[in-house]
Amino acid sequence: MAAPDILPPKGVRPPIIGPGQTFGTVTDRIAGIVLTKHTPIFWVLIVFVAAGLFGMLQTAVGYLLVKGTGIWGITIPIGWGFAIVNFVWWIGIGHAGTLISAILLLFKQTWRTSINRFAEAMTIFAVMQAGLFPLIHTGRPWLAAYWLFPIPLTMGVWPQFRSPLIWDVFAVSTYFTASFLFWGIGLIPDFASLRDSAKTLVVRRIYGMLAMGWRGSAKHWNRYETAYMLLAGLCTPLVLSVHSVVSLDFASSIIPGWHTTFFPPYFVAGAIYSGFAMVLMLAIPFRYLYGMQDFITLRHLQNAAKVMLATGMIVAYSYAMEMFFGWYSQDKYELAMVDNRLHGPYSFYYFMLILCNILLPQSLWFNKVRSTPWMLFVVSIIVNTGMWLERFVIVVMSLQRDFIPSSWGMYWFTKWDMMIFVGTWGFFTLLFFIFIRLMPAISIFEMRTLVPQAKVKE
């Protein structure tokens, strides 16, 4: 384990890479996590617990497929429940990964380099969890194929392209594919490094195949960089479109509390907010457990905290506007929605949401909080709890009471809802730790560009 964090004197920002690093040390430190026979004990413990939760997920989903969605708490009028709350929550978490890898690359924010690889992995694994929910929410996922995708079948039935739910299918599947490609293309040169550092023949062969014969040729790098920048340019509007389309699932309906035009930017800001919280929830234990304080420095944590603070303020503004629009419309159903949030049966969750997403994260204004990893970790957990509550408030509290009091209802989740939700945490953690063990969690070739001797002198 590396030395504890040392905060530089006031007015000086911490460096983005620790002092004394060279091309060789960067390669050895990052590749060393993968190319070792020694599997750390904490890794075994975490994977053990995560695999247990993943088993619980499989059990719950298996039972769901046998019995149907009746084992969940969903009823009429609240037909969306946990499945859609969790879907929106997970997909939102993915957004920070793309923001870091694509948007910050276009803005030439070099600090993104040490966190982009595992943030991209986080995106892919989070989108996998997200995709699971609408699929099992159909109750019959094997039929969902032709409900959702344009597949030529003898029935001659096709999806309804005027529906935002179908837009969602295309947005999320494109997002997953593009994120996977972006992540994969970044890994090719690093697989070549692992191939060349590998000590045994089998390991060298495996990484050799994954590296596809990469040899670092200038002609290759030139095309590679073009493709990488273009992918970043493509992923930038893509990531903004994904959560916008998710928000249209709600906004294009007429339910009070959903029927607003500002949902797309509100959802995108919330997505980045929760995503950066998840980046910190992963980065802080990772840098501590693997002693990566030289690569993921306090500067990264501070910057991520600042992004959270900024997007958190946008989210706070959106909550205020939701209330304002309800009042300003003077529409009795919109006013009833506002009243239901403040005084309805779920008002406790609404106030918890305000506490978790607006009030407590204000602590990020203090440099002390931004520079203390454990405090940031706590704030991140609070923010992700808050973001989950936000989706609960949006999904459940709007469906719960719409226009006719005779169709009002209540929603309570069942143990199966909870088992699937907690199970996806396990699945996510399992995938993430397998990734850390088998692939370089920090982009080695991009880290080399941060080393002082990397610049060509005239």
Binding site: F23, L181, I185, G213, R215, S217, A218, N222, L231
Partner: protein
């Protein structure tokens, strides 16, 4: 050293810093060599420029991919909604083009990203299981901390003695012959 009997792929010079490499690559290019390549552990724009390889066709392929995705996505929706399975939803026209835009956009991005990655790999000739440069000693460090310049034997100006002399004038760590 005299030329070996077996044909060689080229001469490989190894440098310790990117600056020396770019200097040597520029020098070799100025001396008239064209068939050469540099091998570096991270992308160095100046190296690609020095050997005259800073233009590529990836952008064109991505543009074509995006157009195909866009046209394909829109045509699919048009065909499904007006010909294959026309459904009257809320009295909206069958060809309600504004609601086709999101899927068209996503298909364009999908086509563009797939063509960016696979186009790049195809232009680079990857996956490639074998390449002679890997025969060069110490080449494993090309993916770690060393910078290589290889002048290929196919270059019309290539001559084992003179080319070696030129490469040695750039003060590399070592110059080696790369066997096939």
């Amino acid at each position: 050293m005299t030329a070996t009997a077996a044909p060689i792929y080229g001469l490989m010079a190894e440098f310790e810093t990117p600056t020396e490499l770019v200097h040597a690559a520029k020098g070799a290019y100025d001396a008239g060599y064209r068939k050469m390549d540099t091998y570096t552990p991270y992308p160095i724009e100046e190296a690609a420029e020095a050997i005259g390889a800073h233009h590529n066709r990836v952008s064109l392929i991505v543009l074509i991919g995006a157009m195909l995705g866009m046209i394909g996505g829109y045509s699919l929706q048009f065909w499904v909604s007006t010909m294959a399975y026309p459904l009257n939803v809320g009295g909206k026209p069958f060809h309600s083009w504004p609601s086709f835009i999101p899927v068209t956009f996503e298909c364009a991005i999908l086509g563009a990203s797939l063509s960016a990655v696979f186009g790049m790999l195809a232009l680079n000739g990857l996956p490639q299981p074998y390449h002679p440069v890997f025969n060069s000693p110490n080449f494993v460090r090309a993916s770690r901390d060393r910078f290589f310049l290889c002048i290929e034997a196919q270059d019309p100006r290539f001559n084992v003695v003179d080319t070696r002399k030129l490469l040695e004038s750039f003060k590399p760590e070592v110059v080696t012959e790369v066997p096939y």
